[in-house]
C-alpha cells in the first residue's frame, strides 16, 4: 500500500508544517552555541506544538465556537473544537514564562562569564572543574 499519495500529503499539510517547524526548532536548540539562539530555537519548537494543537481543533467547514447571542442553538452549524485552543492558551503563557526566565538567566550568565557562547563557557567551566580543590603537594594521601 502506497500511503505517500498527493492526497495523503496535502490532506495532512498541517502536520507536515508542524513537523518541519518542530524539527527546525530542535535543530537550532541542539546545534547553536549562542544561548540566545538556543532560546529562540526553543521558542520555535514550542510554537510548532501550539500550531499542532490549534490545527487539531479545526473542524472542516466549522465556524468560530461562539454561542449565538439569542440563545437559540442551530444544530446545522458546525463549530470548531475550542478545547485545544484553550489548552494552548495555557501553553503559550508557559512558553512566555520560559522564554523570559531563559533570557534573564542569559543576562546573569553574561555578567559572570562575559560570554553567551556555549563553547567559551564550557572552556571556562572545564578549567575551573579541573583545578578546583585538588590536593596540594604532599597532602595527596586521600587520592
Amino acid at each position: 500500500m502506497n500511503i505517500f499519495t498527493t492526497e495523503f500529503i496535502l490532506g495532512h499539510i498541517n502536520y507536515w508544517l508542524f513537523i518541519i517547524l518542530m524539527m527546525t526548532g530542535l535543530y537550532i536548540v541542539i546545534t547553536k552555541g549562542n544561548l540566545v539562539k538556543k532560546i529562540v530555537g526553543l521558542n520555535i519548537f514550542q510554537t510548532s506544538v501550539f500550531m499542532f494543537y490549534i490545527s487539531m481543533g479545526k473542524v472542516s467547514g466549522g465556524t468560530a465556537p461562539i454561542f449565538p447571542l439569542d440563545g437559540i442553538y442551530d444544530p446545522s452549524i458546525a463549530y470548531s473544537n475550542p478545547l485545544p485552543h484553550v489548552l494552548i492558551l495555557t501553553a503559550i503563557v508557559v512558553g512566555i514564562a520560559t522564554t523570559s526566565l531563559g533570557l534573564a538567566l542569559i543576562i546573569r550568565i553574561r555578567e559572570e562569564y562575559h560570554s553567551i557562547e556555549e563553547e567559551q563557557i564550557t572552556i571556562l567551566e572545564d578549567t575551573i572543574f579541573r583545578t578546583e580543590h585538588l590536593p596540594t603537594v604532599g597532602k595527596d594521601e586521600a587520592f
Binding site: L101, G102, R108, E125, H133
Partner: protein
C-alpha cells in the same frame, strides 16, 4: 471556602481537602511576596507547608485501605471538568512531598541565610512554595493536561531555585540554563504526546482516556503519543541517557534546594510515569509494544552500573550523591519493568525510602558546606570528629543508601530482589546485589574521609546549628524507623501497587 455547595450536595471543609492540598501553598506563595517582609516569609512558608503535611496525612489515612477520593473542581463533573483524585499511590507521594518540604523549611532557615543574600530570601520562600504547589498538583490531578500545567509551575520555579546557587558558584547559572532547555523540551514532548492521545480519544480525563484508549492500542497515533510521553517524562525522571541536566543542577543548587529536589522532584516524575503507564495505558499495552524489553530493562541496568561507577570517581560529595540518585532511579525503573505487584511495590517503596535517604544525605552535605565552605572530599577530611552529629546522621543515610538490613533502603531493595526472583530473573537479582556493592564503595569512601583521615584545615570547624541538625536527625532516624516499622510504607505501597495494576478499573468510581 468552607461551606461551598455544589449541586444538591452540601460540602464541608473535609470534602475540600484535595483542593486545599494544592491551594494552601499556592496562595501563600504570592502572599509572601505581597507582604514582602523577610521576617514573615519563613513563618508563613512553614505554616503553609505544615498545614499541607497535615492534609496529606489526613488524605493518606482515608485512602490507605484502598479507597478513592474524587474531587470535582467547581462542581463540574468529569470528564468535562477537571478532577482531583486521591488514591493510595498518590496520597503516599503527597505525604512524601509535604513531609520533606516541612522538614526542609526549618533546615533552610539557617542554610539559606548563609548561602543567599538577604534581598532574595523572601522570594526564595515564595518560590519554594510554588515549586511545592507544582509537585503536589502534578501528583493529585486526574486530568492529563493539568499534569503539564503543574509540571511547568514546578519546573519554572525549580530553574530559579537552582540558579540561586550562583551566590556560591556561578556554574549554578549554566546548570539552571541547561536544565531549562532540557526540561522545556521534555515538557513540550509531553504536551505533544497528550495532543496525540487527545486526537485519538477526544478526552483528557485520565480514567476516561484509559477507557477510550483500550480498543486502539495498535493505532500509530496512540503509540506515538505514548512514546512522546515516555521520553518527555523520562527527561524529568532523569532516566539514564536523559540525565545530563541532573548532576550539575544538584551540585550547584543551594543545599536546601538540592535536598528538596532530590527527595521529591524526580520521585513525583516517577509517579507520573507510573500513572500513565498503568492507569492511562494498561499493562497489556506495554506487553504489546515490548517497551519494557527495549527501554526499561537496558536503561535501568545501565543506570545502576554506569551512574554508580561514575559516582565512585567523583571528588565532590554533592556530585557523587547526584550520580547515585541517577543509579537509584534505575532501581525504580527496574521495579516497573518487572511488571508484577511485588515489582511495583518495590518501586513505590523505593521512591519513598530513597526520598528520605537522599534528604538525610543532602542535608548533611549542606551542613558541611556551611561549616567547611566546601563539599569536596579533600575538605571534609576528619570532619567525623569535629562535626560528630552531622557525620553520624550522614553515615546512617549512607548505610540506608547501600541497603543494609535494618534501614529503609534495605526493605525496598529486598522487595526488588524478591520481585526479580518471582519472575525467575535470577541474573537481574544478582545484578541488583552487585550494583549495591558499588554503593558500598562510594559510601565507604565517604566514611573513610570523615573518620579515618586527619583533619585538613587548621582553624577549628564547629558543629552545624541545631536548626539544621534537628531536621537532619529526623530524616536520618526515619531511615531507620521505616526499616523496622513497615505498616505505613509497605501498606501504602501495596495498596498503591494494587490500584495501579488494576489499570483503569482502579480508576473507576
Amino acid at each position: 471556602m468552607a461551606t461551598q455547595t455544589t449541586h444538591h450536595v452540601a460540602m464541608t471543609l473535609a470534602d475540600h481537602l484535595p483542593i486545599l492540598q494544592v491551594l494552601i501553598p499556592f496562595i501563600t506563595a504570592p502572599l509572601i511576596v505581597f507582604i514582602g517582609r523577610r521576617e514573615l516569609a519563613w513563618p508563613l512558608a512553614f505554616i503553609a507547608s505544615a498545614t499541607s503535611f497535615l492534609i496529606a496525612c489526613l488524605l493518606l489515612s482515608k485512602v490507605i485501605g484502598g479507597g478513592v477520593i474524587s474531587y470535582q473542581i467547581g462542581g463540574w463533573a468529569p470528564p468535562l471538568g477537571i478532577e482531583y483524585r486521591v488514591d493510595a499511590a498518590n496520597a503516599f507521594v503527597l505525604f512524601l512531598v509535604t513531609g520533606i518540604a516541612t522538614l526542609v523549611l526549618p533546615y533552610a532557615r539557617y542554610s539559606v541565610g548563609a548561602e543567599m543574600p538577604q534581598r532574595t530570601q523572601t522570594l526564595f520562600y515564595s518560590l519554594f512554595l510554588l515549586c511545592m504547589t507544582g509537585l503536589l498538583g502534578v501528583t493529585i490531578t486526574a486530568d492529563a493536561f493539568n499534569v503539564f500545567v503543574f509540571l511547568e509551575i514546578s519546573s519554572l520555579s525549580t530553574y530559579v531555585l537552582i540558579a540561586q546557587g550562583s551566590y556560591r558558584d556561578k556554574r549554578a547559572l549554566t546548570a539552571s540554563f541547561n536544565y531549562l532547555i532540557m526540561g522545556t523540551i521534555g515538557a513540550t514532548f509531553f504536551v505533544i504526546g497528550l495532543g496525540f492521545l487527545y486526537m485519538a480519544t477526544g478526552t483528557l480525563n485520565m480514567a476516561d482516556l484509559a477507557d477510550r484508549l483500550a480498543g486502539q492500542y495498535d493505532s500509530r497515533t496512540v503509540r506515538a503519543g505514548f512514546a512522546f510521553i515516555l521520553v518527555g517524562m523520562g527527561l524529568k525522571v532523569a532516566i539514564f541517557p536523559l540525565h545530563f541536566w541532573l548532576p550539575n543542577a544538584y551540585t550547584y543548587a543551594p543545599s536546601a534546594v538540592t535536598t528538596f529536589l532530590a527527595a521529591t522532584a524526580t520521585k513525583v516524575a516517577v509517579y507520573v510515569l507510573l500513572r500513565f503507564i498503568f492507569s492511562v495505558f494498561q499493562p497489556a499495552f506495554l506487553a504489546e509494544t515490548s517497551t519494557l524489553e527495549i527501554i526499561f530493562y537496558p536503561f535501568a541496568l545501565l543506570a545502576m552500573f554506569a551512574a554508580s561507577a561514575t559516582a565512585i570517581f567523583q571528588r565532590d560529595l554533592k556530585r557523587m550523591l547526584a550520580y547515585s540518585s541517577i543509579a537509584q532511579i534505575g532501581y525504580m525503573l527496574l521495579g516497573i519493568a518487572l511488571l508484577s505487584e511485588t515489582g511495583l511495590m518495590a518501586t513505590i517503596l523505593h521512591l519513598f525510602n530513597h526520598g528520605i535517604t537522599k534528604a538525610a544525605l543532602f542535608m548533611g552535605v549542606g551542613a558541611y558546606a556551611l561549616r567547611s565552605k566546601s563539599t569536596f572530599y579533600i575538605d571534609l577530611q576528619g570532619l567525623g570528629k569535629t562535626m560528630p552529629w552531622t557525620s553520624a546522621a550522614v553515615v546512617i543515610g549512607g548505610v540506608s543508601l547501600i541497603g543494609v538490613p535494618g534501614t529503609a533502603g534495605f526493605l525496598s531493595k529486598w522487595l526488588l530482589v524478591q520481585a526479580a526472583l518471582e519472575q525467575g530473573y535470577w541474573p537481574i537479582s544478582m545484578l541488583i546485589v552487585a550494583s549495591s556493592l558499588l554503593a558500598v564503595i562510594y559510601v565507604w569512601r565517604l566514611v573513610e574521609t570523615l573518620y579515618l583521615s586527619a583533619p585538613n584545615s587548621e582553624q577549628p570547624i564547629r558543629e552545624a546549628p541545631l536548626s539544621m541538625l534537628l531536621p537532619l536527625w529526623i530524616v536520618a532516624l526515619a531511615c531507620i524507623y521505616f526499616g523496622f516499622e513497615t505498616d505505613i510504607t509497605l501498606g501504602a505501597a501495596k495498596a498503591a501497587a494494587q490500584a495501579l495494576l488494576a489499570g483503569s478499573s482502579g480508576m473507576m468510581h
